[in-house]
């Protein structure tokens, strides 16, 4: 239940209008705090300090961690599922496909209709055994992400 509440808060934040910057500093703490509330695959997790360095807003203000973590979490589940399928590990592929289908499809904001459709289509194609969309997503968004 707690996880569902956190997820709803997370998704609501992703749908926010273009940002008003927050004056307080603390982006690194925001990333670490939000990361700890999210569900991650056991085998693919980002190097948090590298992620903070790569995505920190100019003034280090809070309010920008959600979109970065949403994309990186999507990449993590896509990579985990792809690796599990490649090595024939159905025990790991099953939970990853569940996250691809029921978790990451909630990340794109409401007004990014094309993005919402993309992750839904990627889930359907993954369920059918087609890795092409998830590989495209990882290549486009996380090709230089450092993983722990």
């Amino acid at each position: 239940m707690r996880f569902v509440c956190l997820l709803l808060l997370f998704v609501a934040g992703c749908g926010a209008a273009p940002a008003a910057p927050v004056s307080s500093v603390g982006y690194p703490d925001e990333v670490r705090s939000l990361y700890s509330t999210m569900k991650w695959p056991a085998d693919v997790r980002p190097d948090l300090e590298a992620l903070i360095k790569a995505t920190a807003p100019p003034a280090g203000e809070q309010g920008f961690a959600r979109q970065a973590l949403a994309v990186v979490n999507t990449c993590a589940w896509y990579r985990s599922w792809d690796a599990a399928v490649t090595r024939g590990d159905s025990a790991a592929a099953g939970p990853a496909l569940d996250a691809i289908t029921n978790l990451v499809t909630r990340y794109p904001p409401e007004d990014d209709r094309a993005g919402r459709q993309f992750v839904r289509d990627a889930a359907v194609r993954a369920a059918a055994g087609d890795p092409a969309p998830v590989r495209d997503y990882v290549d486009a968004n996380c090709f230089d992400t450092k993983w722990a």
Partner: protein, 128 residues
């Protein structure tokens, strides 16, 4: 005869619109805060779903600004494009030839006289 001409005209206009804006083209309004001479990141993520397409923006209200796209997950960003003070500005391209599935965010900074300000405009993506 008039009816035929009307149908032809509608067909021509429809074809022109379809050529200019593919069915998958996306757009939304923008409204953001600004700091003079300092980049402000905006938190809304948008997804390129048509490979090889471009991002455009215009400004309908606000001071002269610089605007750029950046990958929401970090590691890549576009060059600054200036939008002049006079509004509305033309639609200008701020990035081109994107890979499908790229998730991008926007940043802007002010060249106006106020230390803080706001602006409004529009963004188009998945556009040729």
């Amino acid at each position: 005869m008039k009816r035929k001409m009307f149908v032809v005209a509608v067909g021509v206009i429809g074809a022109l619109v379809a050529t200019a804006m593919p069915a998958s083209a996306s757009s939304s309004g923008l409204s953001g805060n600004l700091r003079k001479g300092e980049w402000v990141n905006y938190s809304t993520a948008r997804t390129i779903t048509v490979g090889g397409t471009n991002i455009y923006v215009n400004k309908t209200d606000g001071p002269e600004i610089g605007v750029k796209w950046r990958r929401c997950s970090g590691g890549a960003e576009g060059s600054e494009v200036r939008l002049q003070n006079a509004d509305p500005t033309p639609r200008v391209r701020i990035g081109s030839n994107f890979r499908a599935s790229t998730v991008f965010c926007l940043s802007a900074k002010s060249y106006g006289s106020n230390s803080t300000d706001t602006w409004n405009g529009n963004v188009w993506w998945n556009v040729n």
